[in-house]
Symmetry: C2
Subunit: 335 residues, 2 copies
Amino acid sequence: MKSNKINSSKVTSVEVAELAGVSRWTVSRAFTSGKPISEEARQRVLLAAQQLGYKPNLLARSLSTHKTGVIAVVVDTFQNYNVMKLLDQLTAALQKHGLRALLINVIDEDSVADLVEHADQLQTDGVIFLGATLTGDFVSLASKIKRIPLVISFRDCNLSEPLVLNTDDYTAGRDISELLINGGALSFGYIVGPSGISTRVNRREGYEDHLKENGFTLDLVLSATNYDQFIAYEVFCDYLEKTTKKDRVDAIFCENDTIAFGVIDALRAHNCLGSIAVVGFDDISFAKSPSYNLTTYAPPVTELIELTVQAMLKDDVQSTVMKGKLVVRESHKRK
Amino acid sequence: MKSNKINSSKVTSVEVAELAGVSRWTVSRAFTSGKPISEEARQRVLLAAQQLGYKPNLLARSLSTHKTGVIAVVVDTFQNYNVMKLLDQLTAALQKHGLRALLINVIDEDSVADLVEHADQLQTDGVIFLGATLTGDFVSLASKIKRIPLVISFRDCNLSEPLVLNTDDYTAGRDISELLINGGALSFGYIVGPSGISTRVNRREGYEDHLKENGFTLDLVLSATNYDQFIAYEVFCDYLEKTTKKDRVDAIFCENDTIAFGVIDALRAHNCLGSIAVVGFDDISFAKSPSYNLTTYAPPVTELIELTVQAMLKDDVQSTVMKGKLVVRESHKRK
DNA sequence: CTGAAAGCGCTAACAT
DNA sequence: ATGTTAGCGCTTTCAG
């Protein structure tokens, strides 16, 4: 006897069909929009379903239709305000299209392939990489999951094989150089995040190229070993302690906002806030904090997210870089 | 002909069985640990599977086993550093147990019931609420999804019906009162977040009760209409502008860290940083920023997360509140 | 340890 | 518009 099961929710379409006095397949139709069914039959089915507490089992449906409506979203650097913003907007956009996000948290970088493979076995309809630092071999990864679309969002990846959707980092770097030059700076610095990572090189190249074209040079490159405010703080404190005001650069572009905060913290701690122009990248919400007032660059998040979702729905989306825009606040000004 | 399909990954257990020279059921066994199968047969199957690029379809498996290994994680306030931290640890913990998180982003509070119902139809094995502000009727919601476990984590909810796992907010409030009293404060304030929300009342009650027991009163209650740093900033600026130093409270406890940052921003903007003791709640990573150095209260995140995951695996977990601990930095000191 | 029958709950494609 | 056949790909009995 099936009533033996503890859980009472074992109502299937058969029972609904019996109660409604129709066939099982009519029940199926009643729950699928755009299928031919008389209004009367539909009402009968819906009523019967409600009485019995019937809800279609979407797993079984997926097994037949070969569509789950679930997209795997792979994230590596979770505790990062920018990632959070992206994840928020991405899940919202997916849901608006009736899709759901299966969140994959990459803790150990080596496990990416396994995690993605598992998602694939779960029959997800696509995979979206929202990685901040991931350096994995995407090409070989992509080949593992040919069955479904794979898109890499918000990271440099000079490949054409998997679909890549990203901010135009190169132009962004140029814009920032221009802002700083116009502000009267004569010497320039840059702080990179985790080094050896090729995901953000374009940003720096645009900055450096534009400086050179205008007769300047990149005089200082500092390296925070991670996208960590405190590491950046220490690195910049070190710089401040080893230099005198005369020797320091006039302006510094930070690979992202988090690093910029650390730089500003260091300047504040050394009582020389405002002596060096600081610019970040990402425009995370904290950037407008009155204690930082960070001038930064806002990636075209909404547009890229929309494109990312489109890539999951149709297969005619091409790899794209898109311009964002400068958000000019106070931190790039020198007093 | 099935080879008509564009996607080549249509390998099923039948083909593997043929190539390995065993039956289809033996293939199934080879991919399920703990099933009786001879080592030789398993090797043959695994080899054949590899050659054909076969991977079990987990959807079909779930349909048979009535287990998907997917847990719905419902979040309402996404762009909140604390939520991010919880989500990071939660997904990591779930994955460690072989489970995956289906992330549900509640944009419109009214849609919670529908979203959860959909997750239920997707046959998720459980639902975890990580809501910060959600005020929905959890009892009626819980009744909709009796089939699977539901747990409310990290929010007050004086109910016993759905499983509730939370920080001991009441005791935390008392601890903070004690810290501030010991610091010599004589007058006390509190800033609430979104009002009308009952999710954090215990925090305030513990604070107020302890103050009263020690002969003090809660002299000021300010209200930020949201967990937003800038709203808190404005609210506190307003307070500072309407009062003189003499009239102000000595200490203020903020419902969470984000609000505390706004308060500190306001104090800094009015050049009176250090004149009022400030304490936050959550210990988000930004709290240790050199520009804030926030004294705050760290919830027992790891422990509660572990309990949450346990609740998904077994059904003998009881509703629990757990003590966290005070993280004493600088912001509670007055100069 | 391995094979076979039956079925998980639904839907595509076709027939009526 | 509705009913029918034949599966989706795997696992659970239970027999051998």
